[in-house]
C-alpha cells in the first residue's frame, strides 16, 4: 500500500508546505454531507459510501496515511462540526464485523495503515474540556488505527504557528 502524509484541517491555513509528500486538505472548502447511518458502506457497497460527495476522496487518503495531522476546533470536549462530520463519514474504512482489541470489542479495519497521529485542538479550551478530549482521542486510537498519537492544545491566535512548527518537524523527518 502506498502510504501518505496527510493534514486535514477544518479551516484554511496560511502555511508553507515544501514537501510534495505531504497532502494538505482544507475540509471547510469541500462539500461533505452528514453520515445518514444507512450502513450501506458495510452491507451494500462494502468499502464505499453511498453518498457520492467530496468525502469519498478523503477517507481513502485517511486510510493510506501513516502520518496524520488533524486540526480542529473543539466543542464540548470533542471535534467541532467540520472535522466530526468527516470522521463520521470515514466509516467505510472499517468493516461491520467486530474484533477484540485489548479485550474490548471494536470494528475490523479494512486496508488502513497504522498511524502516527497528531491532533492540534484549538479554541478557548478549559482544563475539563481538554481532559474529555484526551479521553476521546484515546478511544479514537483504538477505532482509527493510531499506533501512536499526540495532542497539542492551542489558541486560535497561535494556530498557524503551531501547525507550521509541526509541519517543519515532518519535513525534517522526511529529508
Amino acid at each position: 500500500m502506498f502510504k501518505t502524509k496527510l493534514i486535514l484541517s477544518d479551516r484554511p491555513l496560511n502555511i508553507n508546505i515544501k514537501s510534495d509528500d505531504i497532502k494538505f486538505i482544507n475540509l471547510s472548502s469541500l462539500k461533505i454531507a452528514n453520515c445518514i447511518g444507512c450502513y450501506g458502506c458495510w452491507t451494500k457497497t462494502p468499502g464505499k459510501c453511498v453518498i457520492r460527495d467530496d468525502a469519498v476522496k478523503i477517507y481513502p487518503d485517511i486510510a493510506k496515511s501513516d502520518k496524520l495531522l488533524y486540526i480542529s476546533r473543539i466543542k464540548y470536549g470533542g471535534y467541532d462540526t467540520i472535522m466530526k462530520t468527516m470522521l463520521e463519514r470515514a466509516i467505510p474504512v472499517q468493516q461491520a464485523f467486530i474484533r477484540l482489541v485489548a479485550g474490548e470489542t471494536h470494528h475490523v479495519q479494512r486496508e488502513v495503515a497504522p498511524k502516527n497521529a497528531t491532533i492540534i485542538a484549538y479554541g478557548e479550551i478549559s482544563d475539563e474540556e481538554k481532559e474529555i478530549f484526551r479521553k476521546l482521542v484515546a478511544r479514537n486510537a483504538h477505532n482509527m488505527n493510531f499506533e501512536s498519537y499526540q495532542i497539542i492544545f492551542t489558541t486560535e491566535l497561535q494556530l498557524e504557528e503551531t501547525v507550521a512548527s509541526e509541519v517543519e518537524k515532518w519535513e525534517a523527518s522526511l529529508s
Binding site: 447511518g37 450502513y39 452491507t43 462494502p46 486510510a63 464540548y76 470536549g77 463520521e88 479494512r110
Partner: protein, 201 residues
C-alpha cells in the same frame, strides 16, 4: 409529576434503534412524554418547545466515539437559543459495541454542555450491544432498565444506569458476525464481499 420532551439525535432518526428505545421509554414512563426527531431544519422549532417541559431526554447512538453531528449541531443552536425555563437533561445512549463504557466520553460531552449552559444534569442510561439487543431474548433486560430509568426521571431521583448483553466478548464477536452477515444477505451481499479490504475501489 413533570413532563418529558424526548429528542432523538440519531442521524437516521425515523428508522433508528434510538427511536425504538424512545418508544420503550414512553411506554414505561409515568409522566407525559412528547417525542421529536432532531432534523437539520427543526432546531429553532424544538428550542421553542423546551421551556414547556420539566425534563429533556436525549436519545442517541455513539458515533465515532462521541456525540453524532446531528446532535452536536442541535446543541450549538440550543446554546444560542436557550429556553427561559431550562429542563433537566437526561441521556439514553447506545453503542454497537459490547461495552457500555465506550459511551462514557459522549456522556462527559453532554455533561459539559449542561455545565457550560446552566442545565441541571439528570439521569443516564448507557446501553452496550445496542444495535442488536432489541432483537434478542436480552431485550427483556433493556426494557427493565429503561423502566427504572424512566422512573428515575419521573420521580426526579436521578441516577446512572447501564446494560448490555450478558455474554463474553468472544461470544459477542461470534453473535455480531452472524448478525451482520444476515444484514448483508438481505442486501444480496455475501460475508466475503463485506470483508473486502479495499476502500473505494
Amino acid at each position: 409529576m413533570g413532563s418529558i420532551i424526548i429528542l432523538n439525535g440519531s442521524p437516521r432518526a425515523p428508522k433508528s434503534n434510538s427511536k425504538r428505545y424512545a418508544g420503550i421509554f414512553s411506554d414505561n414512563c409515568k409522566c407525559n412524554t412528547e417525542y421529536f426527531n432532531i432534523s437539520k431544519t427543526n432546531h429553532y422549532e424544538l428550542c421553542g418547545k423546551l421551556g414547556n417541559f420539566t425534563d429533556m431526554l436525549f436519545v442517541f447512538p455513539l458515533y465515532a466515539d462521541g456525540i453524532p453531528v446531528t446532535l452536536l449541531n442541535f446543541l450549538k443552536t440550543l446554546e444560542q437559543n436557550p429556553p427561559e425555563n431550562k429542563p433537566v437533561v437526561s441521556i439514553l445512549i447506545n453503542c454497537g459495541f459490547l461495552e457500555y463504557k465506550q459511551n462514557d466520553v459522549a456522556v462527559s460531552m453532554m455533561k459539559l454542555f449542561c455545565k457550560q449552559n446552566g442545565y441541571r444534569f439528570g439521569s443516564v442510561l448507557k446501553i452496550g450491544s445496542g444495535e442488536a439487543i432489541l432483537d434478542t431474548p436480552f431485550k427483556l433486560l433493556v426494557v427493565r432498565k429503561i423502566k427504572k430509568f424512566a422512573d428515575s426521571i419521573s420521580l426526579s431521583r436521578y441516577c446512572t444506569l447501564q446494560t448490555t448483553m450478558p455474554i463474553s466478548p468472544k461470544m459477542f464477536v461470534k453473535a455480531s458476525t452472524t448478525y451482520w452477515t444476515n444484514y448483508g444477505k438481505r442486501n444480496g451481499i455475501t460475508k466475503e464481499q463485506m470483508e473486502t479490504m479495499q476502500i473505494e475501489k
